[in-house]
């Protein structure tokens, strides 16, 4: 990765964009200390990354078997809060209070009692967000949290993250495929692509000059109706959007 230099501060909501395979998930895993940085230097909360850092809250992209279980939502949070220590799966009063605090922050109090398999995609995401807030982290890493949500729930989720970033002073790194859902909520954009990276305000990064440099080919940026359309030479925005839906490896 070349050309990447920058710092994400408290209360800052940063979208990590780029095509599939550009290294968005790899970046998050490097910050989590699961993968070593290939080159350069990375400091997380003032120190080199280390696995299991209590100051980081994380929602992984792949969600597992838990979604089909009869267990109540609170068990997910309880296991995440106490799972790093040995012992029986019982909660102390303080742990119970911490779970209630996290649930209240995202308005998921009612979800905690419901069986996991009865939750919708949006409800499950809200619960996972509460879980990521356990232990008062200062950095939140969200890997493709909008996948499998409908547009209304996407907008609600983004607004919730924006509020949390500002009210709780959280630094947020949020990977996504699509920037339009995030317009108006994010502070800066980190764009990864083809071994290069650009980091800055939306209008700096999502520009013809920067994206053409990132992709090594002419890229057009169209702003219309408060939305941004990005497309390559010879492809119309419509066809881009279409290919995007099909899950093809395309720009934004």
């Amino acid at each position: 990765m070349s050309g990447l230099e920058g710092e994400v501060g408290a209360g800052e909501f940063v979208a990590v964009l780029g095509p599939n395979g550009a290294g968005k998930t790899t970046l998050l895993k490097t910050i989590l200390g699961l993968l070593p940085p290939l080159e350069g230097r990375l400091d997380v909360l003032g120190a080199p990354p280390r696995r299991g850092h209590p100051g980081i809250g994380y929602i992984p992209q792949h969600r597992s078997l838990a979604g089909s279980l009869p267990l109540a939502g609170i068990e997910l949070l309880a296991s995440a809060l106490t799972g790093a220590r040995p012992g029986l799966p019982l909660l102390s009063r303080a742990e119970r209070a911490e779970i209630d605090r996290a649930l209240a922050l995202v308005g998921a109090e009612a979800l905690a009692a419901r069986p996991l398999r009865t939750l919708s995609g949006g409800e499950r995401q809200r619960l996972l967000l509460a879980q990521a807030l356990l232990g008062r982290p200062r950095l939140l890493l969200l890997d493709e949290p909008l996948i499998s949500l409908d547009p209304r729930h996407q907008a609600e989720f983004v607004a919730l993250i924006q509020r949390l970033a500002h009210e709780e002073g959280l630094a947020v790194l949020f990977t996504a495929h699509e920037i339009n859902t995030l317009l108006g909520a994010i502070d800066r954009v980190l764009y990864l692509g083809h071994g290069r990276a650009a980091f800055g305000r939306i209008e700096e990064v999502i520009s013809e000059a920067t994206l053409s440099w990132l992709y090594g080919m002419p890229i057009h940026v169209l702003r219309a109706g408060g939305r941004i359309f990005v497309y390559a030479e010879g492809l119309t925005p419509e066809s881009e959007a279409h290919r995007h839906e099909a899950g093809a490896d395309v720009l934004l």
Binding site: R51, H62, S79, A84, G87, P89
Partner: protein, 267 residues
């Protein structure tokens, strides 16, 4: 019924096996690994059948083979697609190996029946002591790893990121389960270990949304089925493993019935 030594030993032994099976079984069902538990009891059967040939106690033979099997399943568990296939093949091979060892051994007929369907009335003081120690180990180990095991079972990716290694706990859990199947096999035999290991947990998971109460229910069902089966066998002269399996099936049916109205109400 309690005036006989063998009955008192039988009640103590079934309680021990029920507790060990309950502790492991709840997580087996939660993790979707009940088939692995079934396979471990068959792998143990091969070891138990080989024991007389090697001059070691049957329980030790069962335990050694099951532990090896547990280690193997735990280590190669990652590949979920090929897992059931591989386990099924090893399970069949283990049964065949067990029969082969018994074929080499005279007096195999009584041993075969005891290995496949259990023989709780043969439990003596020394065996009971061994069962007690093994149960203590299983319960202590499960008590220690319950939290991290739950974490890696529910959210392996997140657990990994938090420094809790799913594989390590997967292997540990399979080893504990191997010991639990050895205990249960003494009571209900290799073929019906599934009854004690899975039955109570499957019913409890249908009735409880919380882990703590679900675990408590699993222990209660296991003891109810084990002791109830033993008493039923004493009263009717049926084989103990048959009586326990009947009860386990009844409890599971009842849990389906009890959970059904709630599901209908939810739509």
């Amino acid at each position: 019924m309690f005036s006989y030594d063998f009955m008192r030993y039988a009640f103590a032994a079934t309680a021990l096996a029920a507790f060990a099976a309950a502790a492991s079984g709840y997580f087996l069902v939660l993790r979707g690994q009940s088939f692995a538990g079934h396979a471990l009891s068959h792998i143990g059967f091969a070891g138990a059948a080989a024991a007389p040939l090697l001059g070691v106690p049957v329980l030790a033979g069962f335990l050694a083979a099951a532990l090896l099997g547990g280690l193997g399943i735990g280590l190669f568990e990652e590949d979920r697609a090929g897992r059931d296939l591989a386990i099924g093949m090893v399970l069949a091979l283990a049964l065949a190996l067990g029969m082969f060892f018994l074929h080499l051994y005279r007096g195999a007929a009584t041993l075969l029946s005891a290995l496949l369907f259990g023989n709780v009335f043969a439990v003596d003081r020394a065996t009971l002591l061994a069962l007690g120690l093994l149960t203590l180990l299983v319960l202590a180990a499960m008590g220690l790893i319950a939290r991290p095991l739950l974490f890696v079972s529910l959210q392996p990716e997140l657990a990994e990121a938090k420094g809790v290694a799913p594989r390590r706990y997967g292997v540990l859990f399979m080893l504990i389960t191997a010991a639990a199947t050895a205990l249960a096999s003494v009571i209900v035999g290799s073929l019906l270990v599934f009854t004690l290991l899975i039955g109570p947990a499957a019913a409890a998971l249908r009735l409880s949304r919380r882990v703590a109460s679900g675990l408590a229910l699993t222990f209660a069902f296991a003891l109810l089925e084990a002791w109830g089966g033993l008493a039923l066998a004493y009263a009717t002269d049926w084989p103990v493993s048959v009586a326990i399996t009947f009860l386990a099936f009844l409890v599971f049916l009842a849990s389906l019935g009890a959970a059904a109205p709630a599901r209908l109400a939810r739509g």
